[in-house]
């Protein structure tokens, strides 16, 4: 086996056998299995659903679930590595062929990879570490009518509640701004937006 694109480490022994078994599936069966796999990859939280769909596939095609799970584990090695390394669909196809999958099946999988890769990339980027991520912002503004020191005031205040994710917990931060501060804040945020857009 030549150099693979999706990984630098040696591939587990079982993978060749799993690819061989995959080749035994009909084109239709392989397509159905690929669909189940991409459903899971694009919605990784739906583990229950994935396992149910796998089990249904096994029953319908008279394959034992245990070996099927191993095959799926082997297949998933490629898209996971490919995502990390921003591989093109040609590279994915080449890797599957190198692992022993038939050209026809490898091409089909690579096509599906191409179709799904924007979604998958966005998911991977979304998982990237963020420090104190701003989740939500609530605001209210009003007029201070009076205080214990000033009978009539009439000044405008703006209150922001920032919901921040610190590690796994959410924290609320309350801030008050005066009107000039608000305009200055707005101005700065617009500058940030321009800056972010120039880099996108």
């Amino acid at each position: 086996m030549g150099l693979l694109n999706f990984t630098r480490e040696p591939v587990p022994e079982a993978v060749s056998a799993d690819m061989h078994n995959l080749n035994q599936l009909s084109a239709q069966q392989f397509q159905a299995l690929t669909e189940v796999l991409f459903h899971f990859l694009t919605e990784p939280k739906e583990v229950e659903r994935f396992l149910t769909q796998l089990s249904d596939f096994a029953t319908m095609n008279k394959i034992s679930l245990g070996p099927l799970k191993n095959i799926v584990k082997s297949i998933l090695l490629v898209p996971n590595g490919a995502l990390k390394r921003n591989l093109s669909s040609e590279q994915v196809r080449a890797d599957f062929i190198a692992l022993g999958l038939s050209e026809e099946k490898a091409s089909y999988f690579a096509e599906q990879w191409k179709v799904n890769s924007p979604t998958l990339t966005r998911l991977a980027v979304g998982q990237t570490l963020m420090i104190n991520q701003l989740i939500d912002m609530e605001w209210k503004f009003g007029v201070t009518a009076g205080s214990s020191e000033l009978e009539k005031v009439g000044s405008i205040f703006l209150q922001l509640k920032l919901v921040i994710k610190k590690g796994t917990q959410l924290e609320n931060v309350y801030v008050e701004l005066t009107l000039p501060q608000f305009y200055s804040f707005l101005h700065e945020m617009e500058r940030v937006k321009t800056s972010l857009e120039s880099f996108s």
Partner: protein
Amino acid sequence: MAALRDGDFAALQTLLKAPSKDAVRQLCQECFCSPPAALGPLAQRAGPGLAVSAEEAEQLVTALHNLTRHVVYRGLTRAEDILCLFPENFHQNLKNLLTKIILENISAWRNEAQASQISLPRLVDMDWRVDIKTSSDSIVRMAVPTCLLQLKIQEDAALCGNNPVVSALTVELSKETLDTMLEGLGRIRDQLSAVANK
């Protein structure tokens, strides 16, 4: 907020013993700025200069505090309004001097009252920077711009006395979050304009 009491004006006449107009001016300033709890020590400091007893000094200082705070509270800006506060038999020249001093200071005092009113923690400063994320454990090569925003927030001044606690909070925003935030801020600006134009 202190209300004017009957004995206050009598106590104010003690000012006639003050060495100079500037001394009166200085005392007015200090009495306004001092919170009620600090009036005792202030009286002790001021007493000797006026050659009055400790008790008289304390009454004077309290009276001056009440008078200045009352004027600021009511938002009086005209000499006539302030002069009206004094009883008929109050010393003319002293009345005029006090009114003059108060008028000189009224807008600075009003600003100070507004600046020190209770509020939620206040924003005192903000800084930002834009980073480009080039790599992470989930994806080896990318070019994702992200914004880091640092807000310096000061706790309520009234709670901290002379040592306000300023904390710095650094927050990360993705482009989407920033867009949503700007949308919200834009709505605030529109509503503010609508209110201003009414």
